[in-house]
């Protein structure tokens, strides 16, 4: 009998708690009307790290590890082709035909990316990093097919 009365009192206490919650400040942030203030751990889409020796180009050597590791197949890398030998002497051919290491094309489908970070973790050169950009929103699926070499081309102009 006593514990039933105590039980009834616990119901009243529960009502007080939810009643207090009703009037307290909301925890939700109205994105995108309001900005989010704890973005330190947000990953967002990946981007290529510029080469410190040659900032016009990426650090990427087109080893294809990231494309192979990516669990969803969001990354597509195409190596640069070797230059054709142009009227060179036989002993000069080998150096002239050494393939430049770099990507000719590096496309990335953000709609497939799960932000697991395996590409960045496994890159031998550390050429991939997360941009931390939380404001990629669009109503068009095409806008999420990023060309990660675009920023290097733009800088070269």
């Amino acid at each position: 009998m006593g514990e039933d009365v105590l039980g009834l009192w616990s119901l009243v206490k529960g009502l007080k708690i939810t009643g207090a919650f009703f009037f307290s400040k909301q925890v939700t942030v109205h994105y995108p009307r309001a900005g989010v203030d704890n973005l330190a751990t947000f990953r967002g889409p990946i981007e290529l790290v510029p080469n410190p020796e040659d900032p016009a180009g990426p650090l990427c050597i087109a080893c294809m590890t990231c494309a192979a590791t990516c669990p969803t197949g969001a990354i597509l890398v195409v190596k640069k082709n070797a230059l054709k030998p142009v009227d060179a002497a036989p002993d000069q051919n080998k150096t002239a035909r050494k393939a430049p290491k770099g990507p000719a094309k590096f496309t990335y489908d953000y709609t497939l990316c799960c932000q697991c970070g395996l590409c960045a973790e496994n890159c031998p050169k550390g050429a991939i990093r997360f941009s931390g950009n939380p404001y990629c929103a669009s109503i068009n699926k095409k806008d999420f097919e990023f060309d990660l070499l675009e920023k290097f081309r733009m800088n070269m102009d």
């Binding site: 039933d4 119901l11 529960g14 009502l15 708690i17 939810t18 009643g19 919650f21 009703f22 307290s24 400040k25 909301q26 925890v27 939700t28 109205h30």
Partner: protein
């Protein structure tokens, strides 16, 4: 225009006005429920559809209307389609005897209270039809539990209402309200607080609201008796539930909280205010309490509410006889 013709026109106007009131109320109530739920959870609730999410119910209604009403293969077509109609149709009738204002009674009837109590029993029939006609084990179980719950909780409800009938001497809701006064100390809740408490708990159980919503619990019985309904079939059950909430809270304000009586404003606004306070309390209960297990639910009824309501009734009778 003879007296009968005037009465007929009055009835028609009353029915149409009640239907409009129900429609407007339910639309608002669904939105209010989701907003209250959101704020209790410290989140905004519906926000995008319309300003502050006000058109959310309209979007929900359009969604329900545009879904295909499916019937399972083995389900009895008559029973299956009759159930939602049987759930929703009496609710309009239930609102007619309720005095919304000094002259705003749809159909003033000397046995208004009895009419309401009798017709709310049709809901039980609708649950049976839904459960049996669905050809689904869980729907059947949900319906069986729902029937046991509804039938069981009607008894303390009846006894609590009977105690108020003793003190006011009439079953006519308009007269009961007229006997009360504008201020809280004139209301029936002062003379019958236990009856108010019992009535409210039974009302929450009758309308299958949390914490008594095991028969339609999503996590327990995959929506119980209305599992097999989609689109407008489910929409009608949904509407019936909210309309029943309105009916039950209206009867509660008429019986215990002085109905339309109030100091400065015209009666209808006081009635609406009191009704909405009770509805908000029902929503508060929903987002506070965990669901009762079925045996706990029945125990609460048979071991606590029924003896308490009997004691209340006897006490009332004793006090009335002696004083």
């Amino acid at each position: 225009m003879s007296f009968d013709e005037i009465q007929l026109i009055r009835m028609i106007v009353a029915v149409v006005a009640t239907a409009l009131f129900v429609a407007a109320s339910v639309i608002f109530l669904v939105y209010l429920e989701r907003k209250v739920a959101g704020h209790v959870h410290r989140r905004p609730g519906p926000f995008e559809v319309g300003p502050h999410g006000m058109l959310q119910t309209v979007a929900d209604a359009v969604k329900l209307l545009s879904k295909q009403p499916l019937k399972p293969d083995g389900a009895d077509p008559v029973l299956f389609w009759l159930a939602p109609i049987a759930a929703f149709a009496p609710t309009l009738l239930l609102l007619l005897p309720i005095p919304f204002g000094p002259i705003l009674t749809g159909f003033e009837v000397n046995l208004g209270l009895l009419l309401i109590l009798a017709f709310s029993g049709i809901n039980v029939l609708a649950l049976c039809l839904a459960g049996w006609g669905s050809d689904n084990k869980w729907a059947m179980l949900g319906a069986a539990r729902s029937v046991a719950q509804a039938v069981g909780y009607e008894i303390p409800l009846l006894l609590a209402v009977l105690a108020v009938t003793f003190t006011s001497g009439t079953l006519n809701l308009s007269e009961m309200v007229a006997q009360q006064g504008p201020y809280p100390w004139h209301w029936n809740i002062m003379t019958q607080p236990l009856a108010f408490f019992i009535y409210f708990v039974c009302a929450v159980a009758e309308t299958n609201r949390n914490p008594f919503d095991l028969p339609e619990a999503e996590s327990e019985l995959t929506a119980g008796f209305h599992t097999e309904y989609s689109g407008m079939g489910f929409g009608l059950f949904f509407l019936a539930e909210y309309t029943n909430m309105i009916v039950v809270c209206s009867v509660c304000t008429a019986l215990f909280l002085g109905g339309w009586q109030g100091p400065f404003l015209p009666g209808f606004w006081w009635f609406l205010a009191k009704m909405y306070v009770l509805l908000l309390v029902m929503m508060w209960f929903r987002w506070t309490f965990p669901r009762l297990r079925f045996d706990q639910l029945l125990n609460l009824n048979w071991k606590w509410l029924l003896p308490l309501s009997l004691l209340n009734l006897l006490g009332t009778a004793l006090v009335m006889k002696l004083f």
